[in-house]
Symmetry: C2
Subunit: 260 residues, 2 copies
């Protein structure tokens, strides 16, 4: 959609931050899968991811980080800390971030009662799980028509679970709402080191400010090139101009191949 | 070593933060390997990793983040942004973080001249690479006796390269300097959901404040348990007491197995 979060005509980019919440990620008990997944998704959707942060299950830290990321980005996606145990503090943290109360949400409570009631288990087994209906009073519920449990959003903060398969299912229901104009890319593979290359890249940066230029050396024997130079823009004409300029400046014999 | 950074007698933990610098990580062009590696290393070394942050190649962002992480943690490890091209801004960012000048370091310059001189290439091919000798005036060079290129450190900030094989080689030369008392762990695998379990975990948290308690549900069919409860401490007696208490409170039949 070209909603309020769309890339502006003046080129103001739509930005995002990812906040992973969980002691288990910092201790290495669990290896991150969610940032890895969302990085690829946001890229494909044309959203400029500006920051990824991993923090512990600590209420004050969550609140401070959510507020700072929310202020500085178009979208914030959190992952983790939304279950029923003592270390699930994300909803309380988001509420604190925005000075909202944590309140029991009638629709979420009804969903939980319906689900757990249908299991036939005694209420004592699942009553504690009703704390998962405690959300910031400003919460909005997205995609509740297609998901068994809606996506919870507070302002520009999407609160996602930490379990990868559940996060991915929920994300698939809302991802198209984030879509922006795609990035256009070119890559130039050269057989020289960054040293002699740098002056030409400086010139790209100086003369083509709307094109991002990256320089990625390889030092392992398996690579058939020494540096991969990337050019990237949402403006096809600007990208083509920068690409032609760079290829014109590089001495004959340096360029192994060009992609894009 | 039990240096100034050792766990205090009062239990003040030695903490760390990891700062990954690079547009390529946020765009997904390169998948992080360095945080993944360092998370495991710090865990094994008994250091409490408190935060991982990924930011773009932006000077002001690097400076602000380095300063904030340095103030809040015993150690900060940065990765990326230390080559000779326009997007290698880490040294300038670290200098700015501490209001230091960026200066050409004679020993580093000599190392670079020796290395590139030995390649037989004309100086024009590598003179630009001498910018890699430009470091904050407060830099200290570690492990220069065992590494071809020393580890650069500014106050409590270890500045590491982004190329994983080089980072790992450098880290291996300094890692033992970070070692603290190890974490001791226990894990209890149960066949009930987090709901009925939560009240018992609350009690662990309340009655055993020096033992960290985690709760990790599995929702996939492949798992033979529903929740893995972890207990963790550097205090063996405290861990054993909490473990015994938890096992005493859990109803018969809930516990599938105990590790540690």
């Amino acid at each position: 959609m070209a909603g309020p979060g769309a890339d502006g005509a003046a080129g103001t980019p739509v930005t995002a931050a990812i906040l992973l919440i969980g002691d288990e990620l910092l201790s290495g008990k669990v290896a991150d899968e969610n940032a890895r997944f969302l990085i690829g998704e946001l890229r494909e959707l044309g959203v400029a991811l500006r920051r990824v942060v991993i923090i512990p299950d600590d209420l004050a830290t969550i609140a401070r980080e959510v507020r700072a990321l929310s202020d500085a980005h178009t979208h914030v996606i959190t992952s983790g800390g939304v279950g029923p145990t003592h270390d699930d503090l994300t909803m309380a943290g988001v509420a604190a971030a925005f000075d909202m109360k944590l309140v029991r949400h009638p629709r979420l409570e009804a969903l939980l009662r319906m689900y757990y009631g249908s299991t036939g288990k005694p209420a004592a087994d699942w009553e504690r799980n009703l704390v998962m209906a405690d959300v910031p009073e400003g919460v909005e519920l997205d995609a509740g028509d297609v998901l068994p449990w809606p996506v919870t959003r507070v302002r520009n903060v999407i609160v996602m679970p930490g379990v990868p398969i559940i996060l991915q299912k929920k994300w698939s229901a809302i991802r198209e709402g984030f879509r922006q104009a795609p990035w256009l890319n070119a890559a130039v593979y050269v057989n020289v080191d960054e040293g002699p290359l740098a002056v030409h890249l400086d010139r790209v940066v100086a003369e083509h400010p709307t094109v991002a230029c990256g320089s990625y050396p390889r030092f392992d024997a398996a690579a058939d090139y020494k540096v991969k130079v990337t050019l990237e823009s949402k403006d096809a004409a600007a990208l083509a101009t920068a690409r032609a300029a760079l290829l014109g400046w590089l001495p004959a014999g340096w360029v192994l191949r060009v992609e894009g």
